[in-house]
Symmetry: C2
Subunit: 296 residues, 2 copies
């Protein structure tokens, strides 16, 4: 079985980029010192985000390669969803032991490119280095209307809290197969009075205090109202990480007809009111749980 050490860096890069960087906004793809692309159109801001998946943290040695690549790309797409933004161009950094089988790396990139392609993202460059364990880092650029992107910290007291999808138990497989809510987020920003939004990567227990606290607010959540993934307890829906659903705050003026329009537009994705934001910072219904990268 061929390894990275067998083929060397230049041949690896040739295999990874072959025929991959096409996109009408791409002027120069992999192969130069930087990628060169067309900037956002007038009236749009440039958005930037990077994210990383690490063997032993975000996946295991047994995780199928294509699902690792899929997850690496989907996580950062999920951050673009959280801003109601449009992703465009990705850079990919691979760190791998020289003993890594070539087929495993090609599998990673297959999963990564498939997820990128589904959302119109071109992989325009990247970097490779050897290291002790397998790590994939994706940096994404894209854009959003200068007056149409959604902050994480724009909520006000009295706003209603909603989540998309169902929460909890993603470790049983959904953390590898989730769908970044890009189309959903853009629809929400366009049709509903969304004042704040983020994606749930570390679990509601950690992420909701971030959304509320950043706006100087507290929150009241009814644990029984949480939309739970099949077989999950309210505690799991509250504390488990890696849901990659959207958490959003809407003005309390949101109209029932608008919520009905959501159900018609996305019949398979529930949008559930789980509580509201309160004026006092730090007020919480529950506090335990959630994921900390350095304490876990």
């Amino acid at each position: 079985m061929k390894t990275l050490a067998d083929i060397g860096e230049d041949e690896l890069v040739r295999r990874l980029v072959r025929g991959r960087w096409h996109g009408k906004d791409v002027i120069e793809g992999p192969g130069d010192d930087c990628a060169v692309v067309r900037p956002p159109r007038a009236g749009r801001h440039l958005l930037l985000k990077t994210d990383t998946v690490v063997e032993g943290v975000h996946f295991t040695a047994e995780t199928p390669a294509n699902l690792i690549g899929r997850k690496a790309m989907a996580r950062v797409l999920s951050d673009f969803a959280a801003m109601a933004a449009t992703p465009r161009h990705a850079l990919v950094t691979l760190i791998a032991p020289p003993t890594t089988p070539l087929q495993r790396v090609l599998g990673l990139y297959r999963g990564l490119h498939a997820m990128a392609g589904r959302h119109g993202v071109a992989v325009v460059g990247g970097e490779t280095s050897r290291g002790d364990s397998l790590i994939l880092t994706v940096s994404l650029s894209g854009d959003a209307p200068a007056r149409g992107w959604v902050r994480r910290h724009g909520a006000r007291a009295g706003d209603l809290l909603f989540v998309t999808g169902r929460l909890g138990g993603s470790i049983r497989g959904r953390h590898l197969r989730f769908q970044p809510r890009l189309a959903e987020a853009r629809w929400l920003a366009e049709h509903l009075p969304v004042r704040a939004m983020m994606d749930l990567s570390d679990g509601l227990a950690k992420d909701l205090p971030r959304l509320a606290g950043g706006a100087g607010l507290g929150f009241a959540v009814d644990p029984d109202s949480l939309p739970r993934a099949s077989g999950c307890t309210p505690d799991q829906a509250w504390g488990d990480g890696e849901d990659y659903e959207l958490l959003l705050a809407m003005a309390p003026t949101v109209r029932p007809a608008s919520l009905a329009a959501w159900r018609r537009a996305f019949p398979r994705v529930p949008l559930t009111c789980i509580g509201r934001l309160t004026p006092r910072p730090g007020r919480r219904t529950q506090t335990a749980g959630g994921w900390d990268h350095f304490r876990a």
Copy 2:
């Protein structure tokens, strides 16, 4: 001594980003799901690049933290130099064992921010994760005039080959303290007939074949003509990696007066003709040496 495990991820991020992301083009810095910045001005392209430094590959456990951060930022700035581009916004990914002392990580970021600040770059976001060894990945966006950036593969047969600075022996310390040639590159692109350019990260022995081969050309280099760092042999100047100098191809019509202007503009940085590009692909004066990440 406090470690990352002692303070946790949220407090670490608070310490890393505190007061750091100011910049007039930054609309939303760290703290949201993506960074939001102003796009390039009309008539300019968007440039993107990512690069990574890994413990045990690009630095050791004994390397002072600020020099690691400095190098992580300077390497990717050097790629922007290679395009004669202007860097603007950086994203930083830190992977570290939970046992890493907090002071070491703060030192990394001090070195990184100092180098970024010197070149007008704002760090607008990033990501942290635990992992087995220390890794710092920097993704940079910036811009260049749509008609003023320099390709790696734009050379023609007969072009003259030049390098900036002196080559070889960077392992003795210069690989941690090099100056990315940003101002030099923009000056060269503006004043001299530069047709191709790249930065020397893997050594002339590996990088020159890339510059020539990508244009379907060969090269003829006189080993004795290589500008050598103090105490280096021609073999070291040819084969050692991490010079981070510019390698460029200029039209043979370049005028001596222009080269004299270079010496006045950058009196401390030699610009040396080392040979020329030839029509036959694959013709080489020397072939050994250079750095391969998966074979080394």
